[in-house]
Amino acid sequence: MSSSAAPVAAGAGEAPPAVVLSGITKRFPGVVANSDVHLTVRHAEVHALCGENGAGKSTLMKILYGMQHPDEGTIEVNGAPVRFRSPTDAIRAGIGMVHQHFMLADNLTVLENVVLGAERLHGIGARARRRLVELAERTGMRVEPDALVERLGVADRQRVEILKVLYRGARIIILDEPTAVLVPQEVDELFDTLRGMREQGYTFLFISHKLDEVRAIADSVTVIRRGTTVGTADPKSVSSRQLAEMMVGSALPSPETRESTVTDQVVLRVEGLSLLAEDGSGRAVLDGIDLVVRSGEVLGIAGVEGNGQTELVETVMGMRHASSGRVWLTGRDGTTRELTNLTTLHRREAGIGYVPEDRHRHGLLLTQPLWLNRVLGHQTRPPVSRGQWLDLAGAKQDTRRIVEEFDVRTPGIDVAAAALSGGNQQKLVVGRELSADPALLIASHPTRGVDVGAQALIWDQIRAARAGGLAVLLISADLDELIGLSDTIKVMFRGRLVADADPASVTPEELGSAMTGATTDVPTGAHGGSTSDGPGTGSSTADSEVADSEGGERG
């Protein structure tokens, strides 16, 4: 095992390293998540951790946070060996963790979430509120203490998570994929906060799949592959490509645009689609949406989460009932049908494939075997069913095909879907949705949380299907993906499509500012084509206002 034994040695006179992990090994049933991991984090640095899905990053961090117990290995914090029995011990040692999946109780207020478990510090009443407000002021993270968390957007939730950690007096803060759900501007704001806090002496462990972000914020980066550390590097001196190669040992893929395959055959037509909020307030979540997707075209929708993209997709899928507006679909056989009053099942039968944004909630039956998951959404169609009866043999046969064609890494098709890692689950879902030869694919965040290898494969498959005449409605928070994959981009804001953009010329920053409603017109052709290096050329140092003002000037 190649391990990196503290490349940046703690020099004399310097503070001892904030964290030293040596020889950490952690086994789960069937999996070795960490194997002889070595990691040294200096005091007051941002230390990035990179690796494929399932490489063991989160597990390692949970061990450092006392949530998991290592089978072997030792931990030192600020030079002293420690042994954490529970997060309480870790918190006492000044370690805090912001989890990959938010750890918030929706039905409690912000204040309650923050003070939970740390009531001893300032109680749960007025004193705690004062302390929270003060903390928020100091770090610039505004929050409303008495708001219910369920009403907050992702960026706000993340602020709450960080405040939670700070409230406990943590000096070493673990951030597990904090940027996955943020738009560039929000990422920049986050980075500014981190830099400011680094000055104040905080130490950060930062996990991300976005290598340019790592290069923008981190002082050093450690790469983990298959549960073990493969090395530590200086992010300023390595390229994203090099980093990626360390992670997977292969070239970095990109969602690059190629020659257009757009035809003039309209596949999806949406007119005046509106949807009222479910809370009975009469507020429109979707407001007069018009759009057209043609055969061979990828239509990308950009937007900050919570602006109606989810609702748009679910309304087109028939999972929500539009209050007005109509939807037509032209199937593979050339017949056009109005979908407006059809059920989800009929819409699927008419030729829609659907990759949902949350595969666990909407894509998979987690405890059921893979082949039964193949049936979901296709239960009325061959090869998985005959009339009212399931065709088990057909379903198994076709699942084997998907596993092979989409490189789903699994011991077999009889294992439960939950046993696959996120990337492999996603490949299965994409494979399933493309297997019925749909006319339209609705793909919501098709590569979210998926490692670079799986990402490339999913992009390739979407691209191949598009060349075969598939129309794609793509929703993504990953602006590189959006720009790289789309033939047309529309920006969604507060339930309306507010701007169009040309993927050939728009930059992620421009798109980002349009998404936040700062600009309504996105310039086309001002910049060169998107780079294979993803976003961040320069944006890492520029703050958001630069992007805003640029957009504003052009507008």
Partner: protein
């Protein structure tokens, strides 16, 4: 993250999207809604009492009866509330109540009502402990464990009473007579209210009647039961322990990640739940007018308590309302029979009338239409029928619960992780 931007309103990029999309609606605080409901209920009842000329609807005797019948349900419901707020569904309340009745009779027979009360709580808590062991430590499905608890409650107490009570009472299914709590009345107040009630002035007499029922002939156990409602609220919503307990029911993984011992809190909650259900059982033994231990005497009250809790939207105030509704309607049909039930139908018509107005005001035409039709139907029923079949009026409280739930159609909000088996360290 908003570090670089200053005034939020100016620069939309600083404003998080979801928040601007959902302007927080001004909601009345819980206690105000509660008071409003009480006011509506009293108004409708006294109007009905006046219009139908049936004063029993608001007499002190009715209220007293309602309190008596509501008390075990209220306590069982509180038990359910504690457990479910910590994320453990407790369908075993019935069994724990039975444990409580046995404990109350046993402790009460030998050492008097106070020890009986204690024994009831301890026996109920023991039931809760078994439930906690199964659901929390062994990760058993909560419903399964609850069903088993109900079987165990019935079986174990039957068995124990064969062993212990039979030699005393010569009856394996019944305890010997058990000393009861004394009752107390707020003497002056009660008399003054009695005078008011006797005046038969609309409104005043009704309110006086209801109040008098609440302050007359009250046992310490009754006071304890009613007191436990605000206590539950304060403990669960205003203390650090309560916060931790509730967060175990909302998101145990997050709670554990903050260093809170989720297992411990769930255990405490379920044990408290059992103790409360046990006290609920004790009210069937130690309050005046009750029997000692009697096989099957809980008679489904644990389930009703659970229903009252769901009805009350997992909140103590709502639960109180649910239990009161149940106790009131049951008391009314038991003590005054068919005619009053019919009067109550009239009251529902009035209530629907109010609802129609509200719905018209809110421009909900369909809902208003439905309510109007329902009101018309019920009114026809009221006029055409002299007395309802007694077989059906017996179950008036059950009908009412269904109807109120269907009409109010409130969005109930169970704790997010209610009934979810949580295993330590297996979180994401």
């Amino acid at each position: 993250m908003a570090a670089t931007t200053t005034s939020g309103g100016e620069n939309p990029s600083a404003a998080p999207m979801t928040r601007t999309l959902t302007p927080p609606r001004r909601r009345l605080p819980g206690w105000a809604t509660g008071m409003l409901w009480v006011a509506v209920a009293v108004t409708v009842l006294s109007t009905t009492a006046y219009l139908t000329n049936i004063p029993q609807l608001t007499s002190s005797s009715t209220t007293q009866t309602a309190v008596r019948l509501a008390l075990p349900i209220l306590l069982a419901g509180l038990g359910g509330l504690w457990a479910e707020r910590a994320g453990v569904v407790n369908i075993g309340l019935e069994g724990m109540m039975i444990f409580g009745t046995w404990g109350a009779a046993w402790g009460g027979y030998y050492w008097g009502p106070w020890v009986g009360l204690l024994a009831a709580a301890v026996f109920g808590a023991l039931g809760g402990l078994i439930h906690a062991l199964a659901t929390v430590t062994f990760g058993v499905n909560h419903i399964v464990s609850g069903v088993a608890m109900n079987l165990l409650g019935a079986g174990v107490t039957k068995y124990l009473s064969t062993l212990i009570f039979q030699p005393l009472s010569h009856n394996p299914r019944e305890s010997p007579p058990v000393p009861k709590f004394e009752t107390y009345s707020a003497a002056g107040l009660s008399d003054w209210l009695a005078q008011l009630e006797a005046t038969q002035r609309v409104g005043i007499a009704d309110v006086a009647g209801i109040l008098r029922g609440l302050v007359t002939g009250v046992s310490p156990l009754t006071m304890l039961g009613i007191l436990l409602v605000p206590v539950t609220y304060l403990v669960l919503w205003r203390t650090r322990f309560g916060l931790r307990l509730r967060s175990c029911g909302e998101n145990p993984v997050a709670t554990e990640s903050l260093g809170v011992n989720v297992y411990l809190h769930k255990y405490l909650a379920v044990v408290a739940s059992g103790a409360l259900a046990g006290i609920g059982g004790a009210t069937l033994v130690l309050n005046p007018g009750q029997a000692g231990f009697l096989e099957n005497q809980t008679n489904g009250r644990g389930y009703i308590g659970l229903a009252a809790m769901i009805f009350g939207n997992w909140r103590p105030g709502g639960l109180l309302g649910g239990a009161a509704l149940f106790g009131y309607s049951d008391g009314l049909q038991l003590s005054s029979g068919g005619q009053t039930v019919l009067a109550l139908v009239y009251g529902v018509v009035l209530l629907l009338g109010v609802l129609v107005l509200v719905q018209l005001f809110r421009r909900r035409w369909l809902a208003a239409g439905v309510s109007l039709v329902a009101a018309a139907l019920l009114y026809t029923l009221y006029w055409t029928v002299d007395e309802l079949p007694s077989e059906l009026t017996t179950y008036l409280p059950h009908f009412l619960t269904l109807v109120v739930l269907a009409v109010a159609s409130q969005r109930l909000r169970p704790p997010a992780a209610d009934g979810v088996v949580y295993r330590r360290g297996e979180g994401d």
